[in-house]
Structure formats: C-alpha cells, structure tokens
C-alpha cells in the first residue's frame, strides 16, 4: 500500500507538487492521470525516494519514506520514465545487477531472472547485449529488473510510452496478474484510454494538485459528465480556473 500525505515539492520558484494526498491500495491498480507538466513524475519521484519532500510524507506499507527511505525503497519496484538500461550488458545481466543490489543471493537471483524472462516472454533477446534493443524490449528488461526482488508495490512512470499495441496488451495483462496476486500497482499516464482500460482507482492531477480521486465511475458522477475524458477536461479546466 502506498499512501501520500500532503506531499509538497518546490524547485526554485516553481511549486511542482502542492499538498498531494492519495492512497493506492493493495490488490488495486491506481492510475495517476494528468496533462504534461502536471507534477506526475515529481510525485512518483517523491514516492520512490529519489527526491525528498519539502513538506508532507509518504508511507510504503506503513514505512515512512522520509524517516526510513532505504526500508521503504526495499518494498518498491520502480519502472522509471524512459526505462534506462545498460547497453553493454545483456538483458539478463541487467536484471542480475539489480538483483545483486537488492541483496539476492547469486543462485536465487539466477532462478528469479530465469522466471522473469519466461513470464515477460524475453527468451529471444535475454542474452543479447541491450545496445540496439527496441523500446518494447527495453521496457520489458527494465520491468523484469524492477520485479526481481518480488516487491509488494510497483510504481511505473508512463510505462506505455513508445510501446506498440501488442507490447501494451501484454503489459496490461502483467499488471492485472500482479493485482490478482495482491500487489499494489501505481502508474502514471497522460493517455486517457490507458487509464480507462486498466485502473480501479484514478487520481487526477493538475498544476501539482490532486483535482479528484476515486473510481472512474465516481469521478464521472462527481463532474456530471458522460465519459472519463470529458470529466478529465472539466477537472483540468476547473483546476486552472
């Protein structure tokens, strides 16, 4: 479970995140929806301990990211924006590097990597150097890397960027599986269809603030619009007004 409580972050004069509060529960897929520059990535970075909040706090399974960032990080799997991997290592070596840094023993890490290669259908390219991988292959490698230590919580920053239809479908399938196993999945997107297809809960963010949150139906009902897209447009207009 991921809980954000009044998170604030400012870069110089710009207030990137203003008192963001929401909860992403276990066995649910929560979507962070907002236009470009709304503060989605900054919010996620505060959650996965790369940035420190100016005010407020967040808890990962009850562990505070400001008090105990390393313990909190241990409960997280993170797919960062762009899915940067090491071009001179093979996909498998990329996974094993993170497994080692997560504290897995060598034999355990190898078994887990083999399992993930199978789960994500990476057999074809698992032992090739990552230089020249397609975006889909890179995202799969990065995803396997972030799941290697069986984290309870998974955070993904715009995971479907640059993926083709087939890759998007298999990613959705994987996220649903994780939900079924009781994991907490939180991902950001600016693509409406993405959120509508996958999410149990939606958090709409605009100008660094939470504009609305709840199930897609609740949000639609609250804004009195027919579809989620209209609701989103109405909320963003309100937020700016």
């Amino acid at each position: 479970m991921i809980e954000a409580r009044g998170l604030c972050k400012r870069f110089g004069d710009i207030e990137a995140v203003r008192a963001v509060t929401f909860t992403a529960a276990d066995a649910r897929i929560t979507g962070l929806l907002g236009p470009n520059g709304a503060g989605k990535s900054t919010t996620l970075r505060l959650l996965y301990t790369v940035l420190r909040a100016d005010a407020g706090d967040a808890c990962i399974d009850g562990v505070s990211v400001s008090q105990a960032p390393l313990q909190a990080a241990r409960r997280l799997g993170v797919l960062t924006h762009g899915a940067g991997i090491y071009p001179n290592l093979t996909a498998r070596e990329n996974i094993l590097y993170f497994a080692a840094l997560q504290g897995l023993r060598a034999a355990e890490a190898r078994a887990r990597a083999a399992q993930l290669v199978q789960l994500l259908e990476m057999e074809e390219f698992a032992d090739r150097r990552a230089k020249g991988f397609s975006q889909g292959q890179r995202v799969k490698t990065a995803l396997a890397r972030s799941l290697v230590h069986r984290p309870q919580n998974l955070i993904l920053d715009e995971p479907t960027n640059g993926l083709d239809v087939m890759a998007v479908r298999s990613l959705r399938e994987l996220l649903r599986q994780l939900r079924a196993q009781g994991h907490c999945v939180l991902f950001s997107s600016h693509v409406m269809a993405e959120i509508a297809a996958l999410c149990d809960e939606v958090v709409v963010i605009g100008s660094g603030q939470v504009l609305s949150c709840g199930t897609p139906e609740e949000i639609r009902a609250r804004t009195g619009t027919a579809g989620l897209e209209e609701a989103f447009v109405a909320l963003i207009a309100q937020g700016q007004g």
Partner: protein, 392 residues
Amino acid sequence: MRAILIVFLKEFRENLRERRTLYTALILGPLLGPALFAGMLALQLHKGVASADKPLPVAVAHGERAPNLIAYLSEAGAAVTATDLSGEDARRAVQAHRYERVLVVPPDFAASLGSGTPAPLELYADASDAAAAADTERLRAHLAQYSSRLARLRVVARGIDPLVLNTLAVQDIDVSTPVTRSVLLLGTLSYLMLLTMLMGGVYLAIDATAGERERGSLEPLLTLPVPRQQLIFGKILAACAYMLLSLILTVTAFAILLRFTGLERLGMSINLGPAVAVRLVLYCLPLIPLGAALMTIVAAYTRTYREAQSYLGLVLLVPTLPLVFAGVLGLRPSLAMMAIPSLSQHFLITSLLRDEPLPVSYVALACGATLACGAVLVAIAGRLYRREALLG
C-alpha cells in the same frame, strides 16, 4: 560494503566491453605514449650523435685572401664552399637560408695580419636558427683556435715563452653521471606516466556519472535500497582499477622500450629495471584515488557526456600542473613540497630513476598527504551523490 563490490564488478566488466574505454585505458595511453616518446628520443639522440661527426658547412667569400686560414678550416673538418658574395649579399643569402653561414674575408685581411694588427673577418649567421647555431658555434671555436695558434707563433718569433699567454689554467670537472644527464628526459617521462595513468580512468568516470544520467539508468539505480555513497564509491573504485592497469602497462612499456633507444650513446642511462618498475607503480599508487575522485566529481557536475569530456580534458591538466612548475622553476625536492600531490610523485619518480633515493620521511609524507587529499575528494564525491540535483 557488498554494494560497493557489486557496483565495482559491474562497472569493471561493462567497461571491458566498451571499446572507447579499452582503447584509452589499455592501448592508446600506455603503448602509444611510450612508443612515441622512445621513438622521438631515439631520433633526437641519433641526430645529436650524428651532427658531431658531420662536416661543418661554411661558405667563404674571397678565400684567396686567406689561404692558410681556409686550409686550417678544411683540415678541421669544415666543408668549405667558395662564393663571391660580399657585405649585403652575404646577409641576404643567410636570411634567405641559401647558406647557413657565410665567412667574408675583407680586402685588408692579409695586410692587417702582416702588420700584426687584428685582422678583420665577417661572419654572417642567423642566431635565431637553432639548428644552424650549433654548427656556427663549432666554426667560432675553430676560428678561436686558429687565432690562438697565430698568437703563439708571434710570441715565439719575439723570443718569449708562449706560456705567458696562459694566465689561467681552468680544469672542467664534470660531476654529472650518465644517469643525472638524462634528467630532462626523466621529467618528461614522469609527466607522461602520470598523465596516462589519469587518462586510464577518464571514460569510466564520465560513463559512471554523466553517461549513466544521459542513458536514463541513473534514476533506476537510485531507487534501489542502497546508500548512494556506496554506489559512487563502487564507481570510483572501478575507475581506480582501470587507472592502475593503465599505470602498470605504461611503466612496463617504458621499461621495455627504453632499452632500445640507445641512451648510453649520449652518455646517459635510465635506471628502469623490473625492481624499479614495481616501486614506480607503488609510488604512483596513492595518486590514483585522488585522480579518480577528482574526475568523478567534475563529471558528476556536468550535464552530458560531451560536456564531461571537454571538462575532463582540463581536469587532466590540473594534477600535472605542479610538474610543469617544477620543470620551469627548476624546483628541487624539499620536505614541504612532498606534501603537494603529483609534485611529490614527480619527485619520487625522478629520484628513483636517477638512483638518488629520497629520505624515508619524504616518501612517507608524499604518500600520506596524497592519500589524505584523495580521501577528502572521495568523501566530497560521496556527498555530491546525495544531492537531488544529481538527476539533472
């Protein structure tokens, strides 16, 4: 501690697969540098040795006015060519490099000689032409010898012992040994050694910081439950490993190549056997963490790979600057100077190659001070990695 080792092993292995790192750290610096150095040295020695036996070219105008002098010069090894230039023409000929030097015998030469007054001679030469200056100097020496021989004959003709002309009897006693004579060469050698050692870590330092950020793999790394200092310490350690490899290869290459340059022909020798080579590596060792941390800090502040590359080009000069000052100012080792990193390594290297050991306290201070500076820089690099701005 375990994380440091994991990061170190991964960076080391990954860079073994990176052609750019391998070329600079293990091939270009350690082999090309010494090869170029030894080649240039051999060429220079060959030229120096050869020019001493070479005939001395001199153009003489109106040699018929001084047949004895010309015969003396020819006998002394001068290659005399006759010209009919005089005054302004001779000046222009030398300026245009048609002749390296022209000796003009004026019409009143024989008359002056006969009357016992100083006989005029005009020697046109270009003092700014370094290549010709050495030969001109040889010609002057021959002329001085001829002059002194004539003087003796005149004194003898007047019934006086020619020894009265010798007022001083200066004995030149050269105390330089074959080893100390090659000091300038040794200075260049220690400079090249330290420079190639630093170059060995350049690409790794860039790759581990600016490169990792540019590829987008830094952020995922920072999400791991590992203290950030351990990540950067592992990277610095990997840079150190490449610098050490680079240093060992460079010293080995120097030790092998210098055997073939023929230094002893100029009365020089370099004390660079296997035992000295091992001690050279040990003396340079303390400078490695300092260099690696310095390069990592600078690269961590830059935004892109290219930016890091251009800044590190400058950084490479910083640790080698003291050597340049030492060369220009002709500094000699003192206890206080052994506290300056890189300058102290330079002194250690040259003293070892000259076979003039420095006191143990000097060696201890050099190693201690350099290691302490390195530790401070490593700590700064660790703090730098805790900054948020690192993500760029």
